[in-house]
Each structure stands twice: as C-alpha cells, then as structure tokens.
C-alpha cells in the first residue's frame, strides 16, 4: 500500500524528467510539441479534479478553456492590457463563469450532468462562433506573450516558452497534490464514492461540487491563457465539445483520478497524433485501437497498467527475498 502511494509521485518525477530530457534534444518543432503537451496536461489535470476525483464528468470543459483563451486575447490584443494582468483577469473571469455554471449544473447528476455541461459548452461555442467582435469563425490573431524580459526571460523564444510551460506543469502538479491531501481533497473523493452518504453525514453536497467546478474551471481558464500565448492565434474550435471529448480521452487514457495520468495522457496523445499522422492517413484508427487496448482489461489507464506492473514486480521481489531468506535459514 505504502509503495503504491509513493509510486505516483515517483512516476510524476520520471515524467517530468523525460519531458526535460526531450526538451534538451528538441528542435523548433519539438518545442512546439512540448508546449502543446504542457498546455493539454494542465487542462487535463483540471478536468481530472472534476471527473476523476469528484466523479463529475463534464463535456463542457473546453468552453471554460476557451473562455480563458478568448478573454486573454480580448484583454491583450483588443484592449491592450498587459499580459500579466490579462492572465490573472482571464483566470478570475473564467473562475466566476464556472462558479455560475457550476451552481446550475450540479443540480443534476450522472448522464444529465454530462448532457447539461455539453449543452452549456455548445452555447459558449456558438456565442463565440457568431460574435463578429470575437472574430467569429476567423478567430483572433495578434495575441502577445507574457513579457518577462525584466528577469531576463524571453518567452518569444520557443525553447524558453516550452521550458516555462513544463515547469509550470510541475508546479501545478505539486499544488494540486497538496490540495488533494487536504480535508478538502478527502471530501472530493468522498463525493465521488458516495455523495448520498456525504449528504446524510451533513455535507452541503452541491456547495462543494460547485466549488470544485469553479476551481477546476479557473484552472482550465488559466490553461486557456497559455494556449492563446502558445499559438498567438485562437479559433472557436477551442471551445467545441470535441475538444472537451479529447481532454476527457487524455485523462482516461492516462488514468482518471491519478493526477499524473493526465500529464502522461497529454504526452501520449500529442505524440501519437503527430507521429502517426506522419506515417498514415488512418492515424485516428490506430489511436482508437491503442485506446481500446489501454482501457480494456479494466485497468485505470496507463497509470493503472504501470501500477499493476509495479505490484507484480514488487511481489516477485518480495517472494524471491523470502525464499532467499528461507534457504539462508536452512543453511544456517
């Protein structure tokens, strides 16, 4: 049990190291991929809080991601606010939007929750798609990146930008790990496990569900501001429900409710998409097959498989150690 508890942070450290090593070897295109992975990892971690830990599967998460990206774009490219202020304001605004949306959607459960988040997300998509001031289906261009030249960091350099995002993923991972180890984190898993009993024990269930919806949404919005800075151009597709679906696939592939799973899932999906689409026109087919293989067998995504493997190795190790001891005893 204990070895499993420390297994996930170790896996997270390994993932981070792998990302850093790829960074040292990456050319321009590699940097772009690494930045993409980092943004998706942040977004998928935010969804994991909601879907994996609290059991609220949302198909409208991309709309909150898009809300962060679009408000950042409007604040900077149209209103001319500094990027730092815009990041904070866009994150806060998305958090507020999520608070309102969360208060509504948490009135229903299960499949209805999925449907209502999908519907609200699509309303957001339509709104952006049809609004000329937001560029409509042409999207918005000319989005600047955060200016950190004061501390000698040039985020317009693709390598520096990618590295900053990777480090940001590590920081957010650690903060969320702390959050999940708190009483609040325990309440989230309790809600997933048995919301009815939580209510019977005296928990105002909807209040807590709304709070995590708002927090998760704010984090998605934050990831959105980074996505906008990465591509410097955004289009309504960012809010589309298929984007929500993709993020959910990332979290499920990596392992729901594991926090490190979404990071691994983001890396795998991004890599597979780029590598496979070079090799074959049918990359979607191969990706689908891969997904089926990982999810079959009832394991919780890649992290679930790795944990099962780790347990197997640990048990074999323990067995061979005890046989060694027994033969020692026999000899002595």
């Amino acid at each position: 049990m204990r070895s499993l508890i420390s297994f996930r942070p170790a896996l997270a450290a390994l993932t981070l190291i792998t990302l850093l090593i790829s960074w040292t070897n990456a050319e321009y295109f590699g940097m772009e991929i690494l930045a993409e992975i980092a943004v998706l990892a942040l977004l998928a971690m935010s969804l994991d809080l909601l879907a994996g830990y609290t059991g609220l599967v949302s198909l409208g998460h991309a709309a909150l991601f898009g809300c962060g990206a679009y408000s950042f774009a409007v604040f900077t490219a149209i209103w001319g606010w500094p990027a730092s202020l815009s990041m904070a304001a866009a994150t806060l605004l998305t958090g507020l939007v999520s608070l309102v949306v969360g208060a509504v959607v948490t009135r229903v459960q299960g499949i209805f929750f999925i449907m209502i988040t999908l519907a609200i997300g699509e309303m957001g998509y339509e709104l952006v798609f049809k609004t000329r001031a937001l560029g409509g289906d042409d999207g918005l261009a000319g989005i600047p990146r955060l200016d950190l030249s004061a501390i000698g960091v040039d985020l317009n350099d693709p390598g520096i930008f990618a590295l900053t995002l990777i480090l940001l993923v590590a920081v957010v991972y650690l903060l969320l790990l702390r959050l999940l180890g708190s009483p609040y984190g325990a309440v989230l898993t309790g809600l997933h496990d048995n919301a009815g009993r939580m209510r019977a024990l005296g928990l105002p269930v909807q209040l807590y569900q709304t709070s995590i919806f708002a927090f998760s949404g704010a984090l998605a919005g934050f990831a959105g501001t980074l996505s906008a800075q990465h591509t410097m151009f955004i289009a309504p597709q960012l809010l589309h429900w298929t984007t929500s679906g993709e993020v959910l696939v990332i979290a499920i592939l990596g392992g729901l409710g594991t926090l490190v799973g979404p990071i691994i899932g983001a890396a795998l999906i991004t890599l597979l998409r780029h590598e496979l689409s070079d090799l074959t026109d049918y990359w979607g087919l191969w990706l689908g097959l891969f997904l089926i293989l990982v999810v079959m067998g009832g394991k919780n995504g890649v992290v679930g498989w790795l944990e099962a493997g780790w347990r197997f190795v640990a048990r074999r190790g323990a067995q061979s150690k005890s046989t060694a001891r027994r033969s020692n005893d026999a000899a002595g």
Binding site: N194, R199, A200, G202
Partner: protein, 250 residues
Amino acid sequence: MLRAERIFKSFGALQVTKDVSLEVPTGRRHAIIGPNGAGKTTLFNLLAGELLPDEGRILIGEQDVTRFAPDRRARRGLSRSFQKNNLFLSGTVRDNLVLADIVAQGYGFHFWRRLSDNRSAQEKTAAIAEQIGLAELLDHGVSELSYGAQRQLEVGLALMAAPKVLLLDEPTSGMSPEETGRMLQLIDDLPRDLAVLLIEHDMDLVFSHADRITVLNYGEILMEGTPQEVRGSDIVQETYLGGKTAQEQC
C-alpha cells in the same frame, strides 16, 4: 429532542406512513418494530429528510425541520445509520471515519492543511473504532471487510458526528451472535444525553434494550408503550407476533 407530528406519506396509491406521531426525548431508547414492509425505513427516511412527508411536522429540539434537506438536519444533530450498508467503499475504515469527522466538524473547506497532520481527527477515529470493535481493522479496505464488520462501521459513521439524535436502522441485521452482543452493548453504553431511535427485528432484543416501543403495521401505529405493555398486548400478539411466525414459515 425529536418529534414527529401526524406524518403521512404515500408512494402513488400505496400509503406507507399513516398518521404517525412520535416523541423521543433526550436519553430515551425508543424502538420501532413491525413486519417487513410496515414502513419503518420509510419513517426513518422521513425523519432524516431523504423523503418529504405529504402532511405533518418534524421537529428537532424546538426547531421545525420538516422542509430541511438531510444535510441540514444532520448539522442540527441528527445522525443515522442505514439498513443497507452505505459506506465509502474505495477507502479504509480510517478513511471512512475521518471523512465523517471532516463533515461533522465542518472543516471540509480546509484545502491547504494536510489531513494526515490532524491529530484530533486521528484520536477521535481511534476512539470510535475502539467503540465499534474495529480498532484492529483501521487500515483495512472497507470492501474487504466481512458483512458484520461493515455493519459496525455503518454505525461508527453515524457516531462520529457526536449526534443529539441517533437513528439506527436494524443495526444488528446479518451480524453473528457475538457481533450482535457487542452492538447491543454499544447501544446500552451510549451517552445518556443522546436520544436513540432504533429499528429492530429481534423481539427479545427490543424488549430488553428499549424503554419505549412503537409497533408499526401497514404504515400505522398499532400501539406504543413500554416493553411490558407491548408484550402483554393482545393486538400485538395477534397481528405482529402472529405475523412474524407466519413469515418465518414462508
């Protein structure tokens, strides 16, 4: 402490609670008996707020809680255990009890403090685990526990809140004789500043551990009285004790 006044409840055409009134003052050990389907659990669901009565009032202390949701009633000091185990199956016994402490003490919004640092929760958890006889199993997964041990935890969750009113729905059902004995001892030992309402099938247990008994039949109160009065009553002998043997035969 807990009062129900003229409660009615129907599911469609089926009337499950008919004009039920109850008063459970602090310190009372009040049992509800009645054959299967008499509406005992439904009455608990009405008292705890899982169901809304069609008519009637429910009060905790002096406060009318008829329209309160279950969590709000729980925060007023009402705690319950369920007839069907209703636990957090993915966690350990400790996780379950700590969760109940977080909710009862209301520190669920502490998002930065480490849960493992909380000494008072750990102490309380250990004390309740001792009380329900699960001290040795604190770090065992709940889904691996025996049915009887899960029943004990079911009551443990209800006790964590240090309630003023405790509703126990057949706490000994499915338990071994030993486990049943321990559970009854636990109920006898509960602090006297607590009102206990207990649903129990075993008549002998009810007669020896309750100081007041309500007999329900088809949603109606057949009679209410002391164990002696109920034991001596002709209607109860006929309809309930007779009904019980008929049930045992089939």
